[in-house]
Symmetry: C2
């Protein structure tokens, strides 16, 4: 049987640096665990724009549709800030999400014991935190039409459309309920049903899907209150299900609770392919961090943990994912720190490669 | 000259309880500081629905347009959760904001020294925090058309429209720049210009308005990063300008940084009336808190501080506002605490009235 295939799209900024460490980890699994992957690489974001004038070439899109999983680094950077909206680096990422139909974006916010002191939040509020945000990723205001800037009465008007069908809300909800069943059987759905009709439909559909998962305790919360509760008492949550835009903001808020964005992976999953694996893309939650790009300072852990999610969700290798996560916990417990994980006390941080070395030796 | 006029709309849940304390404070200013107001009262939200079948009666709306300032408590509660969207208690509040054209919603997030320990965040991250969020309040996805739930191909579809004209973005931006000029001359504008065209227009217009305020240091941030930075290092901000929906979420997030939502006031300001005063409504950021309504447990400080904002922004009584704020700081420093301001150590909290008593004696 052919090896499972991976397409690496390292992208911009620190993307290539952190992805280099992932490649070494992938190599390790091939050499030591008999888990070989066929790895190909291509461009996305600003890097693709520089070469092709578009943030995602059609050939790359086609390749992404064929492979078993895509690993993405990060897109964007100041060099591209003044580009036309339609060719911004972000459009490459959004095209992948949309055309691969990756509707369920899983964003864990987990506080690593060794790093609990590092959060902005008091230790007792975050220690042991382990929540999972399921963000709908293919619809909502990110993709709704009509959209654009046009003239009305001699004045510019900016328009975007929040649009959700019940089928879109439902399939994401099922993914969220399924996850809740495997975890603590607690799901909180967040919207603004007090202000937006799309939020009313959201609440109704989630309530209907709940009938198929009676063992799960379902609650509903307005998204503004959700942001507040995430800061006040995040451990009240297990799985959170929310829409594309709220999910963008709430997951970043939740990410920060854990102390470092450099630690957080994500999985974006779609429908099963012919081989039974879901369409899938894995990427760190952090961005391209142009301020530290090319300096070997970036923390590769979020990207490596994204590969662990790939092992778990695409390749049914939960035990190997556990092994990789345990190696990361071990190096953190041993005190390995990249610059983003250091407090004001200072000390000499590990470089990106040194952190990769440490994880490889712990494996 | 006639006394300035106030319309009190206490609303639902804890609204009437906290407003009772504000009325006593208003009485004190009339008796002791020769600052008398003509106060009238009316219904809003669920209370108005119970009596009139609508969350805001036309007569109340007309009265709100005439007075010098509206003081609002809170709206909504579980008794009204299953009402039709068009008569939900929240619609009363939104109608006031829209018809009074209160486009600039000022939401301070201030950490009171005496309460710095009470925040979820580490003390050094929040101590001395003093930021001001200016939220555009009359447009965006809250009011954009088309909206609603309709059938398409036998399926329900929920639609809302984010819509901003450059004039709407501009007038809010001017309010934000003016505030920044009076504060630390630092303004951060937040949107999702990487994903939404309305965000691109937002960024462009704010940049254009900046030309008139060259002394202000302007920065732009994506709203997801904004949520993260608010948790990571909130003191990097002075004034934040953002849209209606992002402002809803980000201001709740910022509010929670300070430890208690029971402490935070807001002002919603519109265009100047014939007497030179701006159209204005003042309300606490907290909601109707149905779980503690009617029990005398609510913290009246947010509502009292909202009246302090009225003194400052509607009545040009900055010194009297300072006096009221100082009295509140004093009682907090002396250890006065309502239940929401108590840690797990416990102790006997003050009731709503007792907190009002304490503030009155400190005045
Ligand atoms: C880069 C950007 C388009 C993206 C988004 O808004 O979804 C990012 O913030 C994310 O959360 O993955
Ligand atoms: C009650 C609700 C309609 C309101 C809003 O969404 O604006 C509230 O959350 C607020 O922030 O004032």
């Amino acid at each position: 049987m052919a090896n499972p295939s991976l397409l690496i799209l390292a992208g911009d900024g620190i993307g290539p640096e952190v992805m280099d460490e992932v490649k070494r980890i992938i190599g390790w699994f091939g050499a030591k665990r008999d888990l070989a992957f066929d790895v190909s690489e291509d461009l996305v974001g600003g890097a693709a724009y520089d070469k092709h004038g578009v943030p995602l070439h059609d050939d790359t899109m086609a390749r992404a549709q064929e492979v078993d999983a895509v690993l993405l680094g990060a897109v964007g950077g100041p060099a591209y800030d003044n580009l036309d909206f339609s060719v911004k680096p972000e459009r490459g990422l959004l095209r992948l999400r949309k055309e691969m139909d990756l509707f369920a974006n899983l964003r864990p916010a987990q506080c690593f014991d060794a790093l609990a002191d590092f959060s902005s939040l008091k230790k007792d509020i975050v220690a042991g935190l382990d929540i999972m945000i399921v963000r709908e990723l293919t619809s909502g205001v990110y993709f709704g039409e009509p959209r654009g800037i046009h003239m009305e009465d001699n004045m510019r008007v900016g328009i975007n459309t929040q649009r959700y069908t019940e089928a879109e809300i439902e399939r994401g909800a099922r993914a969220a309920f399924e996850l809740a069943m495997k975890r603590n059987k607690k799901l909180c759905s967040m919207e603004k049903a007090n202000v937006m009709e799309s939020g009313i439909l959201w609440r109704d559909v989630v309530t209907e899907v709940h009938r198929d998962y009676p063992q799960v305790a379902l609650s509903h919360m307005y998204a503004d209150n959700g942001a507040m509760q995430l800061v006040r008492a995040p451990k009240q949550f297990d799985v959170i299900y929310t829409d594309n835009l709220f999910g963008d903001i709430l997951s970043d808020c939740a990410a920060m609770l854990t102390g470092s964005l450099g630690m957080l992976p994500s999985a974006s999953l779609g429908l099963p392919m012919a081989n039974g694996r879901p369409k899938a893309m894995y990427e760190p939650v952090h961005g391209s961090a142009p301020d530290i790009a090319g300096q070997g300072k970036a923390n590769p852990i979020a990207c490596i943990l994204s590969f662990a999610m790939a092992l778990r969700y695409s390749f049914d290798q939960g035990a190997e994912a556990d092994r990789l996560e345990a190696a990361i916990e071990k190096v953190l417990a041993d005190g390995a720190r990249t610059a983003d994980l250091m407090g004001p006390e200072g000390g000499v941080p590990l470089s990106t490669t040194q952190m990769g070395d440490a994880i490889l030796s712990a494996l």
